[in-house]
Symmetry: C2
Subunit: 251 residues, 2 copies
């Protein structure tokens, strides 16, 4: 099983100016590749903090995806922090400088050209999905924080990591609460150790009280667990079954 972590960088999230939109996008992309997102850490725009997190998370997981801190301003320190985490310097990428000069033309400033800086030894992934190259240092993907651009990078990740079997998710939506369902859930959890069972209560939802989810890499095993659960619940308490990899939109 391949594992990953996310490092979301930005004072604007910790101060509540905006909500992080990138974690859930990354989580879904990785899920479709069969990669498990194990943690997501939101930290401030501080070089030493980012450096320490990059070092710890990149050692511990197969992939680390950073979001944010790659613009031209004083609070954009991710490239320097990633370089510091691996004990290397920072250099200007000729390819990226050329792209920046083409894009900005006569308006190009030293500020703009700062965006061509990469850790020494970083790999640039060129892709037909997005003109701007993607910077990868060892197993650390240095992604931009702007949500629209972050989302575009998912196609690059999919191409590069390749798909193992995607995770399959099924669910049973019921009118019973978690306390009532607990014995049935416990029975399925012990009989189906290879399936991850989750239960999600709703607060004052007129339609249902609990959604019980069944996740795993083997569709047959996931379905078996889901069906076993359905047999334990009174039929009138089942609102509907949900199949496949369908996921609710973020709210």
């Amino acid at each position: 099983l391949r594992t990953a972590a996310a490092l979301i960088i930005g004072n604007e999230i910790l101060s509540g100016k905006i909500a992080d939109q990138n974690s859930v996008v990354l989580a879904r992309a990785l899920r479709s590749l069969g990669v498990t997102l194990v943690r997501a850490h939101v930290v401030a725009d501080e070089l030493s903090t980012i450096r320490d997190e990059v070092r710890a998370l990149s050692e511990r997981f197969d992939f680390l995806f950073t979001s944010g801190g790659v613009g031209p301003t004083h609070d954009d320190v991710t490239v320097d922090a990633v370089a510091a985490a691996f004990g290397v310097g920072v250099e200007t990428s000729g390819i990226m400088e050329k792209l920046l000069r083409e894009y900005y033309g006569d308006r190009v400033s030293d500020g703009h050209l700062r965006m061509a800086r990469i850790p020494v030894g970083a790999r640039l992934i060129q892709s037909h999905h997005i003109p701007w190259p993607t910077v990868v240092m060892h197993n650390v993907w240095v992604l931009p924080g702007v949500p629209q651009i972050f989302a575009m990078k998912m196609a690059v990740i999919k191409d590069e990591l390749g798909a193992d079997r995607p995770f399959v998710s099924m669910a049973v939506v019921t009118t019973m609460d978690e306390g009532e369902l607990k014995p049935s859930i416990d029975a399925v959890v012990s009989a189906h150790p290879e399936v991850e069972v989750g239960s999600y209560p709703r607060f004052r939802d007129p339609e249902y009280k609990t959604k019980v989810t069944f996740d795993g890499l083997d569709p047959a095993l996931v379905r078996d667990a889901r069906d076993a659960f359905v047999r334990l619940v009174p039929p009138q308490a089942v609102v509907r079954l949900e199949d496949g990899v369908t996921q609710e939109p973020p709210k």
Copy 2:
């Protein structure tokens, strides 16, 4: 300055089933109290992971707020993990058991009563804002993950922590990009070290290219920094000024 961390617990977030909605709510509540949210970690429903994070984050920051994992089912292990972090056991709160029995009446199950479990030594905060008590173990607030209930707890936090001076946030919305603004931003950053300056680019927004923000505890210093920046930018590049603690809704 008081500091805080958030520990968001839930496989459903890491698997992309839902987006975390609680961090931004907590961030804004703390901001209004003058408390700095320094990190937010999203982790899975695993006792040892949660225990280690609770220990590390509660030692390092003045407050830790956990979200999730407090229901009755097998994947609800936050209470046990918090107890383990402080090396204590778990006991049943008589007050909470009574509330559960009153609420569920004849339907009450062992599952429901699991929700009365608290770490030995935890404090229960009773509040007129919400009937269910809030569990606090040393400096760790054990909050529910259901967004509507999590949001209700903010009033309890505000009452209990009390407000220092709230952070003040002002902004300048401009049609210039970050690369062009960099010299002006750098000048303000060095001349106003007590004000936190941030810059947030927009991608293909017809209205503006960059929002530059000025945050701090002293409104006069924040305003000085903001005004100094405005004087450095061509007037026609300023779309508008934003004042006070107004914040954009999460998108």
